[in-house]
Amino acid sequence: MKVYFSLAALYIRSFYNLPGKRAPGAKLDGKKIGKLVGMTVLVLFLLANLGVMFVGLNLGLYESLASVGMQGMLLLNAVVMATVMTLIIGFLTSLSTYYLNDMELQLLAMPIKPRALFAAKFTAVYVSEAIFSLFFILSAMVIFGIKEQPHPLMYLWGTLAAFLVPIPALAACYFVQVPLLSVARFLKNRQTILLVGGVLGLAMGLGFNLYYQTMFSRLATDPAWIAQNMAGPESLVAQAGRAWPPAYLAWKAMSQPASAQAALSLLGMAAFCLSFLAAAVLVLSGAYAKSLVGFNEVRLRRLGARTGEYLDRNLRRGHAFGTLVLREVRMMNREPMYLLNGPFIIVLMPVIFGIMLAAQKDAFLSDPDMAGLLALLQSGGGAVIAGLAGAFLGSGTSITCTAVSRDAKALPYIKSLPIKAGRYFLAKLAHGLIFGVFGAVAGVGLLTWALGLGASDAAAGLAMALGLSALVNMAGLWLDTANPRLKWDNPMAALKQNPNSVIMILGTMGLIGGAGYLAFSQGLSSWQAAAWFGLVPGVAFAALLAAFPAYAERRLAAMEV
């Protein structure tokens, strides 16, 4: 058991990037305290966001169900949704962490029982699932509790149920993945897994978004439909809840919290869920350990007789600056996690917006409160909205604000090459600007189409989007040049765990929000807005650009990697 606990702690620290124990006598410096405060604020912000979403959803659902006297179904719906969500997210998490790195092979070489290894991995994945499940069920319990005043024991049964719900879901994920990865050689590659997981995650995220948007639009227009089709006794959710014993037992316990049957239901649920865990550990551990072997194998396809032809075609002189820009683009776009969390946002955000538009357009247009906003959009405000959307997309790729950090491993070599520092950094800026233009055009184009804007408004919006996104990209590069994250083991740390990307995202939101506020509060026409928020940022961009190469050269010389 001692080995299991050590391994579980190791995996949990590794998965969630938790800091290790502080050395005795070590003090927290200002930077660490700032980081801790920033991370805490960010986590609270994220929880608040999810809270608003779940509470809003459950509140709407409660009111719909209460209108037909079926409010008790809210709790069943919450347990079923928590089961489904932990199944989906658990599948992605367990897949992406199935083989972390070559450390796993070293663990296989140690005297560790496969059961301890598998159970530790299961535990580490379970932690995030349990938190998610608790969050989902808790938000329903709070709504139900405030509205219906049930016995306080409901909270205890609900919390215990929330911790049990993810266990069979996660076990089921491993019952699929372990046999699959034992036989499917092409999946035994960490990059392939990350790519497959990323695409599945996106698809599922978009599916959830569609569900959420559909629910919300129907909440406003047709509560009876919600009651009947989404959470009513004959709905798919309710049928699934009754068919799936843990959901039914959890619902029973929460519905009659003060009865002896509640405790018995919870005991039954615990026995059912834990039997899945026991079965997974007993049946899968050996196969899991075996399936880890071969993950680090690579196969090279040799050119053979085509070598000469290949070299003739591919070894050609190019422009020195062009080759630097091309390197930047390839290095980012070929790292799946960089692509999905960076430039891919230009594709993803319009798709999410499209789903929202498709699901909510009717409700949006028929809402009398929106009449004023629609009039404003049609009288010139549309150009501002389109411009700000384009600016957001063109600024949201995190390319420039992580450009130096992502290149940390290559910096010593780059510094040995005869490349002017200014040129090296400008290649990074060019990379950001190329995608900035794509984002600006995509954002403005989408809003032009959605709001039915004319060519003049679209052009004004595009000028705003280009000016603002160029400035943000320049500022991002300046920030990452001033304070790059140069020490990391996992490439993700350079992007997702880089404070510069968080600062720039929040800064961009502030800039865009401020620009929107000023444009609407001052009643600027589309071309006035284009002048203020296209031309002025453009001039600021040019000023920063002129000063940047000399600064970048000094900073590069000072970077000791």
């Binding site: 690579v298 196969r299 090279l300 396809r301 040799r302 050119l303 053979g304 070598t307 290949y310 070299l311 003739d312 591919n314 070894l315 050609r316 002189r317 190019g318 422009h319 020195a320 062009g322 080759t323 630097l324 091309l326 390197r327 390839r330 290095m331 070929r334 790292e335 491993k409 290559a410 010593p412 070599y413 510094k415 040995s416 090459l417 005869p418 490349i419 002017k420 010389a557 000072a558 000791e560």
Partner: protein, 247 residues
């Protein structure tokens, strides 16, 4: 020719003095070995030599060109094999070679000829279409060697070049070093492997804790040590003597 004159370097963050008052001169037509235990300052010296780090004091020049004054000109005159082959893992090998050749302004015909020659020698020619990330450590090392020669530099600086190479490639690399030295070019390399240094070097330096303890030929080292021992024994005696003297 590579010249380091009274070069010192302390790392800004840790404050550790990694190189202290180092003097090294590598003449044309010479294979120069740079020896020292782990953490002695070999890689830091090479980083100073290649312009990756700026010295706190002293000067570095390549073929008489001062690195501080005309860094780009100085950098054009050497090829560098780093000790970390984990570079640009997402690029294909051919893309990486093109990148390096473009940076040095090598024309199509020359890059084609040189890549053909060195990639064949190191048996990676028919996998230049693959991504660097799929290469083994040794293959990455061979690719780095190939890239470092794509502009046919007069000075060749290699940091632990034998690590990860198979015996045939290691032999070919040594032959290449001899060939370039015979053509009047400079070869500077660091190593832990005493046998390699003993057989290959015209002259060598031994560094420990940032200080150069000895520079000269193997015969001079033997005379100084007063014995006809192997380089390994002389190296250990020299490093241990200095540590005992300090203690």
């Amino acid at each position: 020719m590579i010249e380091l004159s009274r070069v010192s370097k302390s790392y800004a963050k840790s404050g550790v003095k990694a190189v202290n008052d180092a003097d090294v001169t590598v003449k044309n037509g010479e294979i120069f070995g740079f020896l020292g235990p782990n953490g002695a300052g070999k890689t830091t010296t090479i980083k100073l030599m290649t312009g990756v780090l700026k010295p706190d004091s002293g000067t570095v020049s390549i073929d008489g060109i001062d690195m501080a004054e005309r860094a780009l000109d100085a950098k054009r005159r050497f090829g560098y094999v780093t000790d970390n082959p984990e570079l640009f893992a997402r690029l294909k090998a051919s893309e990486y070679l093109n990148f390096v050749a473009d940076v040095y302004g090598v024309d199509t015909a020359d890059r084609r000829e040189r890549v053909e020659r060195y990639a064949s020698l190191f048996e990676i020619k028919d996998v230049l279409n693959a991504s660097i990330g799929s290469y083994s450590h040794g293959m990455k090392q061979k690719l780095l060697v190939t890239a470092s020669l794509v502009h046919d530099p007069d000075n060749w600086i290699l940091d632990e070049p034998m690590v990860g190479l198979d015996p045939r490639s290691s032999f070919n690399l040594k032959e290449l070093m001899r060939e370039r030295a015979a053509a009047g070019k400079t070869v500077f390399f660091s190593t832990h492997v005493m046998e390699v240094a003993e057989r290959l070097c015209d002259r060598l330096s031994i560094i420990n804790k940032g200080a150069i303890l000895f520079t000269g030929t193997l015969a001079e080292l033997k005379t100084r040590g007063g014995s006809d021992s192997s380089l390994e024994k002389l190296f250990l005696e020299l490093v241990d003597d200095k540590e005992e003297a300090k203690a």
